[in-house]
């Protein structure tokens, strides 16, 4: 039995030793080289770190970053990835939550790392990647590792203005990767084209499917997503067979007309997630690539990437709404009403998830963990935790799950999960902002901020760009004389919605 992702790594490193595992525009590394790098990094760290503690990794969009992640794991620890292009304030918030003693950075990010509120040791990747592996030390470092040991902590938007660190165990990750690899029939002949930032949950497919199956992953430069014909050329150059992209990533080339110039020649499977797919764009993909399998996925980071999947079985139309399908193996979905009773078939309830894929909670935040991960109210006989997603859904007669949006003010924008409350909390830090409300104009995919006060829109945008990831910065700002209110004193969002156009 495989108790950790290291068992997968050892197995593929032997079986596929000379085959490429990861490549980027500059470098290509084989399974065996990759494995050696993880051992070198692991050896360097092992006699410094305390087992089962977090190590921050802040390195670029290249083949060495996954090696860092697994190197941390070889040292008996778990990794907390950070994207250095995030605003400094955001990085400092993450550091404040994770309270790690160690950080690995590449040379390129060293200056940024030094400028952060980080008190621990900083190690430079290029200095440690050629450490001589010490097998005995590595064996000792992982001797207490179990399936339930954390593998990583990935950060996501929090409504109070502080990001939440979702902790995932080896076992949960392996359950998900096993399940998704069956649906995709992932195998050593596959080449995945990575779109997701490597610190983001969606990247676990691109990193771990190769380690499970012997497939390869190409890390595509970020700016190619702005230039869609170049992007498709890259897919062809590397003979990419499979994409695990955000819906936003799938939309882009279709929106910008890339198929009129060039087609990805080698694609066989495309799996997308992150938000609701507008089918007018999926239709373009289907028409141009009739033999490709398209799969819709749904699920929160708290239930390890994705909970349900739906293989698109026919040509979609512009107004088709894709269901989110059926649970992956090892996932169980129940729908609950507000009063904790089970929702009838055909009726809408909150989507709740249980199974070995539940996260271990939010790092260092017992309170929010206990609010979101609760005992299944339908089970009085034994301990069974469920995660309440805050998403609404209903089961069709045939058992297929449909998605009906959010219970609260969390939205999905450009494939990222955003709490509108976090945007408002950030805006309120500006002196010239008295009251504000952020809304999402779904049809146009635009974030709005309505505010009162003397601040100029430029001032506000600059503040956002400094404090929040770019995708969270509202594109439309509206300065109001006064904020509309309901009789109970709450902001009248319905009136505000009529201002969006």
């Amino acid at each position: 039995m495989y108790k950790s992702v290291l068992c997968w790594l050892d197995a593929v490193a032997e079986k596929f030793s000379g085959k490429t595992v990861f490549s980027d525009k500059n470098t290509e590394i084989t399974f065996s080289q990759f494995n050696e790098y993880t051992k070198a990094i692991g050896t360097f760290l092992a006699d410094k770190v305390t087992a089962q503690s977090p190590v921050i990794v802040m390195s670029g969009r290249n083949v060495y970053t996954p090696a860092c992640f697994l190197g941390v794991v070889r040292a008996g620890c778990f990794y907390a990835p950070m994207d250095s292009t995030m605003p400094v304030h955001r990085l400092n918030q993450i550091i404040g939550v994770i309270k790690s003693d160690y950080m690995i950075v590449d040379k390129e990010n060293l200056e940024i790392a030094k400028s952060l509120d980080f008190q621990g040791e900083i190690y430079v990747l290029e200095d440690i990647i050629n450490t001589n592996p010490d097998e005995a030390l590595l064996a000792k470092a992982t001797e207490n590792l179990t399936e339930e040991t954390p593998l990583y902590v990935i950060f996501t938007s929090g409504s109070t203005g502080v990001p939440k660190g979702v902790i995932t165990s080896h076992h949960s990750l392996m359950c998900y990767i096993n399940a998704v690899s069956k649906v995709l029939d992932a195998n050593s002949g596959d080449v995945f084209g990575n779109q997701s930032p490597l610190d983001y949950i969606a990247a676990v497919r691109d990193i771990y499917l190769p380690l499970k199956t012997g497939a390869s992953t190409v890390i595509i430069p970020k700016n190619e997503f702005a230039m869609p014909t170049k992007l498709f050329e890259t897919l062809n150059e590397y003979k990419v067979t499979a994409l695990c992209w955000s819906v936003a990533g799938i939309e882009l080339p279709a929106k910008l007309g890339a198929f009129n110039c060039i087609k990805p020649e080698y694609l066989k499977k495309v799996i997308f997630s992150g938000s609701v797919m507008p089918c007018k764009y999926l239709k373009i993909w289907q028409q141009n690539l009739p033999d490709v399998m398209f799969v819709n996925q749904y699920g929160p980071t708290e239930a390890t990437a994705s909970c349900t999947y739906y293989v698109v079985d026919k040509q979609v139309e512009d107004d088709t709404v894709l269901p989110i399908g059926v649970p992956y193996e090892n996932y169980r979905i129940i729908l609950l009403n507000e009063d904790g009773t089970e929702t009838e078939k055909g009726k809408t309830g909150e989507i709740c998830v249980s199974g070995p894929i539940l996260a271990l909670g939010y790092y260092g935040d017992k309170e929010r963990t206990e609010q979101s991960f609760i005992q299944n109210p339908l089970n009085n006989n034994y301990r069974e935790l469920i995660y309440k997603t805050g998403d609404l859904g209903s089961f069709r007669e045939d058992g297929i799950l449909e998605f009906h949006g959010r219970k609260d003010r969390q939205i999905k924008h450009m494939g990222h999960r955003i709490e509108l409350g976090e945007i408002e909390e950030t805006a309120k830090q500006i002196d010239g902002v008295e009251d504000c409300c952020s809304l999402y104009y779904k049809e146009k995919e635009q974030l709005y901020l309505f505010y009162t006060g003397s601040a100029s829109s430029k001032e506000i945008v600059l503040h956002f760009r400094k404090n929040l990831p770019a995708f969270m910065s509202p594109r439309k700002l509206m300065n109001l004389e006064s904020m509309p209110h309901l009789p109970n004193g709450k902001t009248d969002m319905q009136t505000l919605k009529t201002y969006m156009k």
Binding site: T85, A226, M227, T229, L252, L256, N260, S457, K458
Partner: protein, 75 residues
Amino acid sequence: MDELMEILEELRPDVDFENEKGLIADGILDSFDIVALVGELNEAFDIEIKPNDLVPDNFNSAEAMLALINKLQDE
């Protein structure tokens, strides 16, 4: 040029469009900026930016964008 600068500044007030020469190469504009920008330029200048025009050389600086706009207007 003024009209273009206005559009660019509204899109990304945090970027110095007068001096930046590597808007794409340095990753300053992301894919979502480009989608928004293409729509706005097409509308404002009555042009049609084609996928083949979407290469870094045409978008790395405000001047390059202006040259592209002029070229497409002449066609």
